[in-house]
């Protein structure tokens, strides 16, 4: 009986992950508890819940591992500010203040806020945590491992070989050469928020042609050896805290898109932005494929485990599969920095504590690794709040929900434990009929209020995906966790097919999520197609809901028609009047 806790935070998304004898029993992002999107504090509430879920106290935990080396990161910051004197003045003032007042004291904070004995606190490093999250969570005994993100301590891209002896670091690309930071700089240029709007660039790309590839390659330059470097005159992330691209980039590509302004791909201006997005996406994919070739040549292995924020780019993942050298690809659902917590814990278990891998039981039982609420609790809540509701027999929930969907209602769907990672996978989802062409606009106008370049995903019963989607071989695992786009081969689902004829696919297995699978099966029985529109259950700018109270608060502020909370069914009209 051994417990290991991994933590990430103080930079991007903070999270806590608890391992029991090397297997993940609880994993959650702090934002699901604090309700602060991308919460980058210390994962105090997530940690507290992990322990409560397992019925243990901190005294039972052998090691608590932070996902990176704070001092090395501080060193990188100082070095790049020295190199960029005097224009780094404001970044220095802000950054150093933050570091001196809190980030350097992360160990003290872990000890004090979480009650951990100082001798039990360990530190992984950033890309090693990413790599461990990909490799040790995978079902493969041997694999090439690639981690690509903005930046960790110094590394921005790392190449590993994973095998029985653990993870062997083969080489790395260092700051300021960074695929992730360049992608983020273009995210800002295209008018979106850095560390949040990257997937919007990906969505926008579908409306454009990559006719600025040459220009973008001046920024992210391919190298002879298969790696890349960055022309630092176009970007400012290495010396500025609030601006990530320079005037020179605007000279190269024209004026940047104004944040929050509309996007209309039929205008010349809108088309230009879409074309730039498509070019950025293409150059990113090329860079990934090139570095994957290097890794393939170095390892000779045909399985790739991928992690880091860039691994959440489901379009690039497809390019890696179809144009890259590897036969199959594995990415765990929280590939970004939240996943660093999981990697830190797995690294500790296998490499610090020296435990061998056993591949017979999966390390990651499924994506539902967060908190759940039982029907008794939900029922008491609804009664206390005087919300009219219907209690369904558990075995009729899927059938009833399927009927609602087919009749054109938009559902809030809260079932079981909430998901690990940024995607809703049928535990905290908004569901609707993907055959209805007006559904996309309806959901956008009444619920999500989001821009048209953000497509909704289709969930499909495992086994039926081949009827509608062109899933590349080796992408099965990605499709299970909605990390892959696939060309759509039918006209039946206008609400979930993106402008370029693709969809971000979610394949549902009965074993992973029996209730949701039953719902899809029933929809299939009624319509002939076991496919449902699935998007995350949240309002714009808010984290995905986790608890029933949050679900209700979101439901009554939205245009959703029906809410399923476990076996409880609540209608929007007439169920609540304060």
């Amino acid at each position: 009986m051994s417990w290991v806790l991994g933590l990430s935070g103080l930079y991007h998304d903070s999270a806590a992950v608890l391992l029991h004898d090397g297997r993940v029993v609880a994993a959650a992002s702090e934002e699901r508890f604090s309700r602060v999107k991308h919460d980058a504090g210390l994962p105090v509430q997530a940690t507290r819940w992990c322990l409560a879920h397992a019925g243990i106290t901190m005294a039972d935990v052998t090691h608590v591992t932070w996902y990176e080396k704070p001092l090395r990161k501080f060193e990188r910051m100082l070095v790049s500010q020295v190199a960029n004197f005097p224009r780094s003045a404001s970044a220095f003032r802000r950054g150093t203040f933050n570091w001196l007042t809190e980030k350097l004291w992360v160990k003290a904070a872990i000890v004090k806020e979480l009650g951990v004995a100082p001798a039990r606190v360990l530190f992984s490093d950033h890309h090693q945590s990413h790599a461990a999250s990909a490799f040790y969570a995978s079902p493969y005994a041997e694999a090439a491992v690639l981690t690509v993100d903005g930046v960790g301590e110094w590394a921005t891209t790392s190449l590993y070989r994973g095998g029985p002896g653990g993870l062997e670091l083969l080489g790395e690309v260092l700051f300021p050469d960074s695929i992730g930071l360049v992608y983020s700089a273009f995210t800002a240029y295209l008018g979106f928020q850095v560390n949040d709007g990257e997937y919007k660039v990906m969505g926008m790309a579908a409306y454009g042609e990559p006719r600025f590839v040459d220009e973008v390659r001046k920024v992210l330059r391919p190298r002879e050896d298969g790696a890349f470097d960055v022309d630092l005159s176009y970007v400012s992330y290495h010396w500025s805290a609030d601006q990530s691209y320079t005037r020179r980039l605007e000279e190269l590509l024209g004026p940047a898109r104004f944040p929050g302004s509309g996007f209309d791909p039929t205008t010349a201006e809108g088309k230009r932005y879409a074309d730039i997005a498509a070019s950025v996406q293409r150059v990113t994919e090329d860079a990934l494929v090139a570095i994957a070739n290097v890794l393939h040549a170095r390892t000779g292995l045909d399985t790739l485990c991928l992690a880091g924020g860039v691994a959440l780019n489901s379009v690039a993942n497809r390019a890696l599969l179809t144009r890259g050298p590897f036969a199959r690809l594995f990415v765990q659902p929280a590939a970004g920095d939240a996943g660093g917590a999981m990697g830190a814990a797995l690294w500790t278990w296998h490499e610090v504590m020296g435990n061998p891998r056993t591949l017979d039981t999966p390390v990651l039982p499924g994506p539902g690794l967060g908190q759940a609420w039982d029907d008794a609790t939900i029922g008491a809540l609804l009664t206390d709040l005087r919300v009219k509701h219907e209690v369904l027999a558990p075995d009729t929930v899927a059938v009833r929900a399927a009927a609602d969907i087919v009749e054109g209602r938009v559902l809030g769907w809260v079932q079981g434990r909430f998901e690990w990672g940024p995607r809703a996978l049928g535990h905290r989802s908004i569901l609707a009929d993907p055959r209805r062409a007006d559904m996309k606009d309806r959901i956008n106008a009444r619920i999500k209020y989001r821009e048209l370049f953000r497509p909704f995903a289709p969930s499909v019963c495992a086994g039926a995906e081949g009827r509608y989607f062109d899933v590349p071989p080796g992408g099965e695992q990605l499709a299970e966790w909605m990390l892959l786009v696939a060309p759509v081969t039918t006209d039946d689902f206008p609400a979930t097919t993106h402008a370029d004829g693709t969809a971000r696919l979610h394949v549902v297995h009965a074993a992973a999520n029996p209730l949701y699978h039953a719902l899809l099966t029933e929809v299939g029985r009624l319509t002939g197609h076991p496919v449902v529109l699935n998007t995350s259950f949240n309002l714009k700018g808010e984290p995905i809901v986790s608890s029933p109270v949050q679900a209700l608060a979101t439901f009554f502020r939205s245009g959703l028609d029906v809410l399923y909370l476990g076996a409880h069914r609540v209608e929007q009209t007439g169920s609540y009047d304060g």
Partner: protein, 252 residues
């Protein structure tokens, strides 16, 4: 609302904020939006944590109100900022501030307990309503804004009334001293926190000056030496590292 000796300072301050500094109004609306959203979350946490069914329903109603106010203020901010984009920046900044740093993560309800939480709600709602009154009269010339403030004021009256009624009920049930103590504590803490914030702001300001001096005298000379070389680039071989068990305790 009329100007009196008691509210003169806040009148003056508000007038400055809204009227003199251009572009401040939209940014202020964005700030309000964040504050309201924050109280909405506090109230939702209270829904989860209270054991009293009737209060639970009140807290939930209250939470929905605050979240709606947050949306109204955000929409106002966006309408006012127009093409200047300043509000977007403020919204993002306050989002950034909200999402970063080591914070107290205990919910307000858990920190205070039911009685003091109610006192907190009452004191803060009352104060907030007074402030909004002032803003409403300053901005009354704009019909949409006046309507928004009127709608919000109606909700705030409910928040004040139910929290007061519950405090009165507790007092009548024999806990008069406890209720008075709780209200006193909340007010004292409010004053104390204002002071702490002022001194923190001052501290940050001084730290900024010191760091700038440090930057110039320390990093300046260094930069002359260090500027020249940039790392070779490409895939570099890893530096030799100690075994995992040996390096796991190091922060560097």
């Amino acid at each position: 609302m009329t100007i009196s000796a008691a509210n003169l300072p806040i009148w003056l301050a508000s007038w400055l904020v809204w009227k003199i500094v251009p572009g401040r109004a939209a940014a202020k609306m964005a700030e309000f939006s964040h504050t309201e959203a924050g109280s909405g979350l506090d109230m939702l946490a209270a829904v989860e944590e209270t054991t009293r069914p009737e209060l639970r329903a009140r807290y939930f109603r209250h939470a929905l109100d605050e979240l709606r106010h947050a949306r109204l203020f955000r929409e106002r901010a966006q309408a006012w900022s127009g093409a200047r984009g300043r509000t977007q920046a403020v919204l993002e900044d306050s989002g950034f501030i909200a999402s970063h740093g080591i914070r107290t993560t205990e919910s307000l309800f858990r920190q205070l307990g039911e009685r003091e939480f109610l006192a907190f709600v009452w004191v803060h709602e009352k104060r907030g309503a007074e402030q909004f009154d002032i803003y409403a009269s300053l901005l009354g010339h704009d019909a949409a804004t006046a309507a928004m403030f009127a709608e919000i004021a109606k909700d705030e009256r409910f928040h004040i009334a139910y929290s007061r009624a519950e405090l009165d009920r507790l007092a009548k049930a024999g806990d008069e001293a406890g209720v008075r103590g709780a209200v006193f504590k909340v007010r004292a803490r409010r004053a104390w926190q204002l002071w702490v914030r002022l001194s923190l702001d001052f501290g940050n300001f001084m730290a900024g000056i010191w760091l700038t001096i440090l930057y110039v005298v320390l990093l300046g000379p260094f930069s002359v030496v260090a500027r020249a070389e940039r790392p070779v680039g490409g895939v570099v071989p890893p530096a030799p590292r100690p075994a995992p068990a040996d390096r796991a305790r190091e922060m560097i």
